[in-house]
């Protein structure tokens, strides 16, 4: 890599990380403030019996309940946003790791997105590929099944991946059915040819009993 390209990459990475950390810091701080306020209101509310008569300025019960509800709601919303992975960031970093064949690292970034219910089929496909590359066939199948349930999540490529996964766990009939589905989805003659060859190879290696 030339030094100009290295400088360009370094500048882009520095900016990218700065933006991400800035966003995370703001979201985490909002959640922290909400948590502290909620704990304080909860403590005051729970100690009502001991404090209400003794301490001047103890808030009236409806006001205290209102603040408790408000802080609880704020905590739920801000906590969700603070914990939810930054999809653009995770996808970019996961994609970079995947492009470098660093599948373990790719999985660490794609997995949280899938756990938080990403609606982007590519995330599921890349995670499935990463699992398969590391020989983890069952998690790959589970992720691909979730991808197929998403709008636009079923493609010829993804079905071929699923076939590889089923072959890996020894479920040849499911692998063949995936390949048939992939053939139906594919619009590229070269890909259709490759899928047919794959299916034929499978049938030869695992002939049906009595066939």
């Amino acid at each position: 890599m030339s030094w100009e390209a290295a400088v360009e990459l370094a500048v882009q990475r520095a900016g990218f990380w700065l933006i991400h950390l800035n966003r995370v810091a703001a979201l985490v701080l909002v959640a922290l403030v909400s948590l502290l306020f909620f704990c304080r209101m909860a403590l005051l509310r729970l100690s009502r019996g001991r404090l209400a008569g003794r301490v001047a300025g103890y808030p009236p019960l409806p006001r205290l309940d209102g603040m408790l509800l408000l802080s609880g709601g704020l905590l739920a919303v801000s906590g969700y946003w603070a914990l939810k992975p930054d999809e653009a960031f995770y996808r970019t970093v996961g994609g970079a790791a995947f492009a470098e064949n660093d599948f373990r690292r790719a999985i660490t970034f794609y997995e949280p997105l899938v756990h938080w219910g990403s609606r982007t089929p590519d995330v599921y496909h890349q995670l499935g590929r990463s699992y398969l590359a590391l020989g983890r066939c069952r998690p790959a199948l589970s992720v691909l099944d979730r991808a197929f349930a998403l709008p636009g999540g079923e493609s010829a490529d993804a079905r071929v991946l699923s076939a590889v996964g089923h072959e890996c766990v020894g479920d040849v009939p499911r692998a063949l059915s995936d390949l048939e589905r992939a053939l139906a989805l594919s619009r590229v003659p070269e890909q259709q040819e490759a899928i047919r060859a794959h299916a034929e190879g499978l049938r030869r290696r695992f002939p049906r009993p009595g066939a």
Partner: protein
């Protein structure tokens, strides 16, 4: 009796009116062209603008103060529950400090709101030029104006000074233009009266809007491309020139030569920096002057662009000053 309808219109500040007016106009145009969503989505996704990042950082610092206050309050509440005295009760049950901090954050966010809106303006100029001007460029006019007014091209004349060290130094100054305006606005906010902070933001918003409008009216790519055939020497810089090139290419729009907002914005903010404190003005003066020189040396602008930038800065300064005097009720008063 209800107030007559004009009095029910919320009283906005100059910058807020301007930013909203531009957003509505640009939004309607993009909606008509069917290009609103991808463009705005892209700009929100980029989010690298220094202003946005700096102000997010400031909000985070205020939130940190709020969190530290929250820890203290929680500890006081715990002491009160454990049988503490009146001091603990005051700490646990009082909300005035939180309210004050929250008001501070809210006020700051409102003061900066035009800046957030204006972030969309600069990149939209490219689409507006496409929509209104197509591929038309006015570089020829600007070149002719330079020849008529200044007898030649300063960017070509400046070739005699080209050296790797100077290229690096002026690249740094040009690059710092991205960093220095947010820092000046921040410093004015920290050390100056709030009224001056708001005036600074209004000035920044107005000059950005007028500058970008002029980009749309006079689209030009600048001497770096239009006069390329006249240059005989390479600028021969190093890492700093490369960093500057990468950052400027990533953040600029392609037809942003006339007027030079590098000159206009920095000149305007320099005045506000001096008003906030002489030391602040003197501190930012060298990189700002370097930035002015860099616009010519690095071949980004024609001489006429610089003149237009300075004139624009002077006009905006006067306009904002008059506006804030005319409508003092919408600008916060200086603290007593």
């Amino acid at each position: 009796m209800t107030a007559p309808w004009p009095r029910r219109i919320p009283r906005l500040r100059l910058g807020e009116y301007l930013a909203l007016a531009w957003l509505v106009a640009a939004g309607l145009l993009f909606l008509a062209a069917g290009r609103w969503e991808p463009r705005i989505g892209g700009e929100v996704g980029r989010g690298y603008f220094p202003f946005l990042q700096v102000f997010l950082l400031i909000v985070s610092v205020s939130l940190l103060r709020l969190a530290l206050l929250g820890v203290g309050k929680l500890a006081a509440t715990w002491r009160l529950v454990a049988g503490g005295d009146a001091a603990a009760a005051e700490g646990a049950l009082g909300f005035s400090e939180e309210a004050r901090l929250l008001r501070q954050i809210g006020g700051f966010v409102r003061d900066c709101a035009p800046l957030y809106l204006i972030l969309f303006v600069y990149p939209t100029s490219d689409l507006l030029i496409d929509a209104l001007q197509g591929t038309r460029l006015v570089d020829d006019w600007l070149i002719r104006a330079d020849l008529a007014l200044f007898g030649g091209h300063w960017t070509v004349w400046a070739e005699r000074f080209v050296s790797p060290l100077l290229t690096e130094l002026l690249s740094l100054c040009y690059f710092l233009h991205i960093v220095i305006p947010p820092l000046i606005v921040l410093a004015v906010g920290l050390v100056g009266p709030r009224a001056l902070f708001v005036e600074t933001i209004e000035g920044f918003v107005l000059i950005s809007l007028l500058g970008v409008s002029l980009y749309v009216v006079f689209p030009a790519v600048g001497p770096y491309q239009a006069l390329a055939h006249l240059y005989t020497r390479d600028l021969a810089g190093g890492v700093l020139q490369e960093v500057n090139r990468v950052v400027i290419e990533a953040t600029r729009v392609p037809r942003d030569a006339f007027p030079s907002l590098h000159v206009g914005i920095s000149a305007l903010l320099l005045v506000y920096a001096f008003r906030a404190g002489r030391w602040l003005g003197l501190l930012v003066l060298p990189p700002i002057v370097g930035n002015w020189l860099a616009t010519v040396y690095l071949r980004y602008h024609y001489t006429i662009d610089l003149v237009a930038g300075f004139l624009l800065a002077a006009a905006v300064y006067e306009l904002v000053r008059r506006w804030t005097r005319r409508f003092p009720e919408v600008s916060p008063s200086p603290p007593a």
